[in-house]
Every structure is written in C-alpha cells, then in structure tokens.
Amino acid sequence: MQASLLGYYSHLALRSFRRNPGLTALMVLAIAFGVAVCIMTLTVYHAMSGNPIWWKNDRLYTVTMDSWDPNSGFTRGNAETHLPPPLMTYRDATTVLHAGLAERTVVMFESSGVISGTGGPPLRTDTRFTTGDFFPMFDVPFLYGSGWSRSADDPPQPVVVLSRSMNERLFAGANSVGRTLRWNDHEFRVVGVLDYWFPRPLFYDVTEGSFAPPEDLFIPFAWGRALDLRSAGNVDCWKAEPLDTSEQFFNSECVWLQTWVELPDRASRERMQAFLDNYWAEQRRGGRFGRPRDNRLTNVGQWLRDQQVVDNDNRVLVGLAFAFLLVCLINTVGLLLAKFLSAAAITGVRRALGASRRQVFMQHLTEVALIAGTGSALGLGLGALGLAAVHHMYAAAHLGRPGGYQELMHFDRTGVLWAIALAILATLAAGLYPAWRVGRLPPAVYLKSQ
C-alpha cells in the first residue's frame, strides 16, 4: 500500500469516526480495558514466572534426595507434595559438599542475628550462612571487595559480605571492606559489599516467600555449626528421634539445608548423579532412605515449576484477562460490523467509482487499526495506572518490609511490548472479518437504494 493511500485511508477513518463518535469511543474503550487487564496480569505473571538466572539453566542444579518417612511422602500444609523434600539433611548436604565433585557447591541456610558494634543501634537482620561458592555460582555482583575463598569456608574465617542496602545503613555506603561488625556479639570482618541484587523469584530458597529480597548478610556456612545455630527457615522432621543435643540435631533426619551444585557439562552431571545414587545405596544398606530411590538434580526452571512459585491464583487471573480481552474483541467485531454495514452506501459509491475490493478492505482495516492502536495506547496507560494502584495496595500492607510481592507490580518494558502485540492482535482479530465482509458487498445493491 502506498503511503499516500494510507494517509487517505486514515483521513477517511477520521471522517468515519466523526459520523459515530459514541460508537467509536465505545470500541476504543472496550479494547483499552481489555488490553489494560491483560497487561496487568501479564506483567505480574511475567515477573513471577521468570527465571532470574536463565543463562545458567544448563549448569545450576539443586540437589534433593528423598530421605523422608518410609511410610509417607513429604507434605506441606498437611498436603502431600509428591516430591522429595526441597531441603536436605545436614549429613547428606555436607556429603555432597565434601565430595567436591561439582565445579562449585553451595550448602546453606538462613538464620537471624543481631548486628552491633558499628556505632548505630543494634539491628536484627536475616543472615545467610553459605559456602563461599555462592557468589560466583549465582553471578552475584559486587560493589566493593569480593566473596570469600574456599579456604575461608573450613575452618570458617570470621568474614562477612553485606548487601548494598545494609552497607548503606551500617557504613553510610562507604567502602567498608576491612571494617568489622559484631553478629550476635561475635566479631566479623567485612570482605565484600554486594551491588544491587534482587533475583525474582528468589530461586535459591523458595521456602520463605519466593519474592522476598535476598538476605542482608552472608557468613561462611560452617559458622552455623560452630555457633550452634538453627535455621530460621523451614526445619522439617519426620523421624521419632531425640533432638536434644546439637550432635543429635546435626545427625538427624531433619531437612533444613539448601544444596546447589554447578555442573558444566553432561559428563559431570552424570558423575554427580552416579555419586548420589551410590551414596543412597550405601546409606540404604545402613538402614536409611526407606523410600524408593529419588535423587534429583533439578535445574532452576524446573525447580521453580516444581515448587509452584507461580501460584494458581495468578494463572487463573491470566486466563481471566484473556477471556475478558476476547469478550472485548468480539464486542468490537460486532460493533465494527454494524458500523461498516450501516455505511455500506458510501462504500458502494467508492466501489462504483473504481475502488477495488482490496482497497476497500485495506481502507477498513486502516480504520480498525486506528481504533485498536488508540485503544491499546489507552490500555497501556490504564494498565500502568492499575499496576501502580495494586503496588500501592501491597506497599501499604507490607509496612516497613521493603521488597517482596509488591515489587512484581512494576510496570516495565514488557508491558509496552505486550500492548503493541495486543494492538496488532486486536486489529487482526476484530478487523479482518468486518473489513472482508464489507469489501465483498456488491456495490449495486447499495447504489440502488439511493
């Protein structure tokens, strides 16, 4: 189609809009609402269902082994999950760690402690106890310094890595590498400060809210045992066994540790799987692992699906949004058809004067595209407003807990892309049939009635 024709068609469309301003406004609004609702749900869905470390999806695996009760599978909220427990026992996790088969191995848990000794008031904060491979394995960005080396893991050195926001809070954002702080009254030396890092979902530990921000403090894993700490996250136990002493707890069947390995290729993956299976068989002979063999290496994408990080509500809402858009589009088809047919006499004159079917079709499609484009642009605005409103609702409810679910309500590039895609979809879905239909009208019929 020539540019001049396009201009002419747009001109015709505008004249047509002026003929029925109410009807036109109705169509634009219907598309706008449909697009707005879709953008809102899709933005949240996109943020929820994303894989925040997709570039390592063929290298990063979480290790799980079904060490649960021989009589019944792992449950959550009194409902069976049909999966191995998402966490590992101390015994099993440290076996994987000490085997050293993977390029990198992370064993970790979350705890809470009070920071003091930096001048400000004491501050209780979530702290991750992890092996030092955490930082290179998850591609964590650093603002100052770095993580700690493996030699600092065991025996554990008194080193700590801070999040950027914690560094701002404790040290006013200065390069704090080399300075010290007290964690539950034990002295630790800062070796690194993270840059802004907020993987969503929080794939490496989905047990405590998948959209929470990462912890503000990172300390070598072995301090957990040295200080006899317990996880502040989930600790799930099934076996009737005394857990009185620390020794009993660390040797128990309680699961509480996240375990991640980096395996760069198929061979290393198979080696790790074989190792797990051998270890499982050996332990089984010793009386453990009463359930069928289920030792898994799960990549991040599958892990997020298994752990149902995208909740069902969200899927229902995406379905609802598309049903709504469908109704809006059907509505628009009906209105357009009515509009085009009621103006058929004019079209008949154009046809009689020599406009081809194709040209009539393109002319009407241009009109639809203008309506859909305007509607989608308006929908984009409405969607952004809606997201801001929901964001506010969540932010108000989370009072003083930054991050979390409300952060998903951010309008971003994805929303714009969706709006453009939906505008094209709307034009084609709503416009093709009416434009085709009106192009096929025999001109004579309409000229006759004049």
Binding site: L23, L26, A30, F33, V37, D69, N71, S72, T75, G77, N78, A79, S111, S112, G113, V114, S116, P121, P122, R124, N184, D185, R230, A232, W238, K239, A240, E241, P242, L243, D244, T245, S246, F249, D311, N312, D313, R315, V316, L317, L320, A323, F324, L326, V327, C328, I330, N331, G334, L335, L337, A338, L341, S342, V390, Y394, A397, L399, Y405, R437
Partner: protein, 406 residues
C-alpha cells in the same frame, strides 16, 4: 397480540452474524461470572472463618537477645511483668508463634503411643495468661495454672514434651473423635505423653492457608527462643491498644541493652498480610467480571440499536398494517431474548467445563450449581434490560415511515 417466535427466528437466521457474536459474549461472560463469583465467595468464607481470637485488641512484641550476658528467663519475666502492668492491658503471655502470621511451629500428635501419623498440629507455647492474651474461649476443662507452666526448653533438651496441654476442638475431634478428650493423654512422636486439661473453640493457628488451620494445641511451657527471638502476645481493653504499644516500645527498647526489640506490631498487621493475596484476588476478580458484564451489555445494546436503525422501514410497515407499539417492543425483546438464551445455554456448558477444568487443574472445589442458576438469571435479566431502550425507541417509529422514501 400474537407472540410468534418463528418469524422472529427466521429473521434472525437471515442476518445472524451480529446475533452470534452477542451470544458468544454472553456465553463467555456467564462462564467467567459464575466461576469468578464462586472463587470470590470461597475467599470470603476463608477470610470470615471464626478466628476465636480478639484480633483487634492484640499486639505482638518480638525481642532478640544477642550477647552472652543476655539471660532469657529473667528478661522474659521482667518484660512480661512490665507489659502486664501497662494501663489497659488485659493479659500478656510469651509465645513461640504468632497467630495468623505464617510463623509458628508444628508437631505430630497421636492419641496412642507409637502410632504413625503425618498430621501436623500447630502449637503455641504459652503461660497461664496465654488463652486470655489471645481471647480464646475455653469450652471445656480448665485453663493452665501458674504452677503448670514449665521452664523453657534448654538447648540440650530440645525434644521434651510437657505435662499439660489444651487442645482446639478440631484437634480433639481429629485425635479422639466424639470421645471426651479431657483427662486423656496425647503422645508426641517419641511416645512422650501429656494430659489434655482443656478444650478451646474456635481458634486458629499461624498458617491460614493450611488445610487444617484450626489443628492447634497450647503447651504449658515458656517458649525456648531457639531462633534468637521471643514473642509476647499482649491483649488490651478496646481502645487501649495503641497507647500501650507506644509505651511498650519506648520502654522495652531501652530497658535491656543485651537485646533488641525487633518489632512491636498489631495482630491486625499479620492478619491483613496473610489474607492480602485472597483480598486482592477477590477485588481483581470482581472488577474484571463486572467490566466484562458491562461490555457484554453494551454489545447487546449496540446490536439492538443497530437492528432498530436498519429496520426502521420494516417497523413502520408493521405499524402501518396494525402492529401496536407493545408488539414492536415485544418483537425486539423476544429477538433479544432468543439471542441471550442461546448465549446462556452455550454459557452453561462453558461454565461447567471451566469449573471442571479449574477443579482438576488447581484443586478448587467443584462449581456449585446454584451459582450457575443465579448467573443465568442475572445475565438473562440484564440482557433484556440492555435491549429495553432500543426496543422502546423502535416503538416510537411512526407508521408513516413506511410510505416515505419509496
């Protein structure tokens, strides 16, 4: 007047695209309306379940000791004594968990030693004011007495049980069925026993999303503060909560340099947070469903208007040959009724299919048929209302139109 559907139907069939489109809208709108309302009603039921807890008048304090000098037992004693002395405070108790917050502990529990069970019961470790601090109602037996309260579990006795427990009625039903639970023994997984001294009802635990949020047990023991924090539940007289909170926060945060007050929050805060997802889901579903019904009504209205406009001459002709205004109105309403009925019939099938799919996919309960009936009546009714104005306008077409323009 002659109500004959056949000519209306045949007129419809000759120009059916618009009618089919409207019927499709009605069908989808019905399917969505019915299922969305059903989900919303379930959420409202979940949010309105009796909690048995005086949520509006309770606040929660969390304290974390962090130095070697910190002595939890004496610190807890002092803090609780202080909280109880505050004006307007009805009761205060230490607790390991916070109701409705998602933070708590659970244990397995059986009515016979050595029986295997995977049932998880949410437990509160509280002192003799624990029940009062929550405002839960004792329906049988007795409350804990001061002498019942056992000291916190030490670090090297993490798995001991207590002597006395109070159960929720739901827990008692699960363990003992219809038998009287008072005086009976309950067993933990190590076979250690405790005696049931009281029953409360209703009550809710920490996890509102649990399949059985009311499987709750109270243990007569001070919490261990194992994760470095102890919580205090404080209940006040109506209206006294906020002042007591402020006083508590300013005093406790200075009274002991070996611990910090992590937060002082209302219980409402935790409840709202726990139900936030359900609430926003409900609001969202309702908004979108309403919009969808509105759009569908506009579609019906627009089709009827279009039909009236394009048939002005036919209407005039009918009027000229003797049709009354009421006949014209009736004609358009019957026509619209036919379209809506077709849509509603298709919508029923779609609604049932959607409901079935949701119940399979997301483990939602199956669609209640009353909702379907209600949805059908509602959509049919407002469908007719939407067509009423165009139909009335059609009736104003004068018979003389038939003779013009020929």
């Amino acid at each position: 007047m002659s109500l004959s559907v056949r000519p209306i139907l045949s007129a419809l069939m000759r120009n059916r695209t618009g009618a089919v489109l409207v019927a499709m809208q009605v069908a989808i709108a019905l399917a969505v309306l019915v299922n969305a309302l059903y989900i919303v009603v379930q959420r409202i039921e979940k949010m309105q379940r009796p909690l048995g807890i005086d949520v509006d008048n309770i606040f929660v304090v969390q304290a974390s000791g962090f130095t070697d000098r910190y002595d939890q037992t004496s610190s807890m004693r002092e803090d609780i004594d202080y909280l109880r002395s505050l004006p307007g405070v009805v009761a205060a108790s230490p607790s390991n968990g916070i109701p409705l917050s998602g933070s708590g502990s659970a244990t397995t529990l059986t009515a016979h030693p050595g029986v295997h069970s995977t049932d998880g019961f949410n437990y509160y470790e509280v002192d003799e004011q624990g029940l009062d601090a929550l405002g839960v109602r004792l329906v049988a037996g007795r409350n804990f007495r001061h002498g019942d309260i056992e000291p916190s579990r030490a670090k090297n006795d993490a798995s001991s049980f207590v002597s006395n427990v109070i159960l929720s009625r739901a827990t008692a039903l699960r363990l003992f069925g219809q038998d009287d639970p008072l005086g009976k023994a309950v067993y933990d997984d190590l076979g250690q026993s405790a005696t049931v001294v009281g029953i409360v009802d209703p009550v809710i635990g920490a996890w509102v999303g649990d399949r059985h949020p009311d499987w709750v047990m109270f243990m007569s023991r001070l919490p261990s503060g194992r994760y470095g924090a102890v919580r205090y539940l404080v209940r006040t007289r109506p209206g006294a909560r906020d002042a007591a909170m402020q006083q508590a926060e300013s005093h406790l945060s200075r009274s002991n340099p070996d611990r910090v007050i992590t937060f002082v929050r209302t219980l409402n805060y935790f409840r709202d947070l726990s139900y936030l997802g359900d609430r926003s889901m409900g609001i969202y579903l309702l908004t979108v469903t309403l919009l969808m019904v509105a759009v569908t009504c506009l579609g019906i209205f627009a089709l009827a208007t279009f039909n009236v406009t394009t048939r002005t001459r036919q209407i005039g002709t009918r009027r000229a040959v003797g049709a009354r205004r009421a006949d014209i109105v009736q004609y358009f309403l019957v026509e619209n009724g036919l379209i809506t009925t077709a849509g509603v019939v298709g919508g029923c099938a779609l609604a049932l299919a959607t409901g079935y799919w949701l119940s399979i996919q997301y483990e939602l309960p199956r669609l209640n048929l009353y909702f379907l009936v209600g949805g059908v009546l509602l959509l049919w009714g407002i469908g007719q209302l939407a067509a009423l104005q165009p139909a009335r306008r059609a009736a104003t077409v004068p018979p003389s139109v038939a003779t013009r323009n020929v």
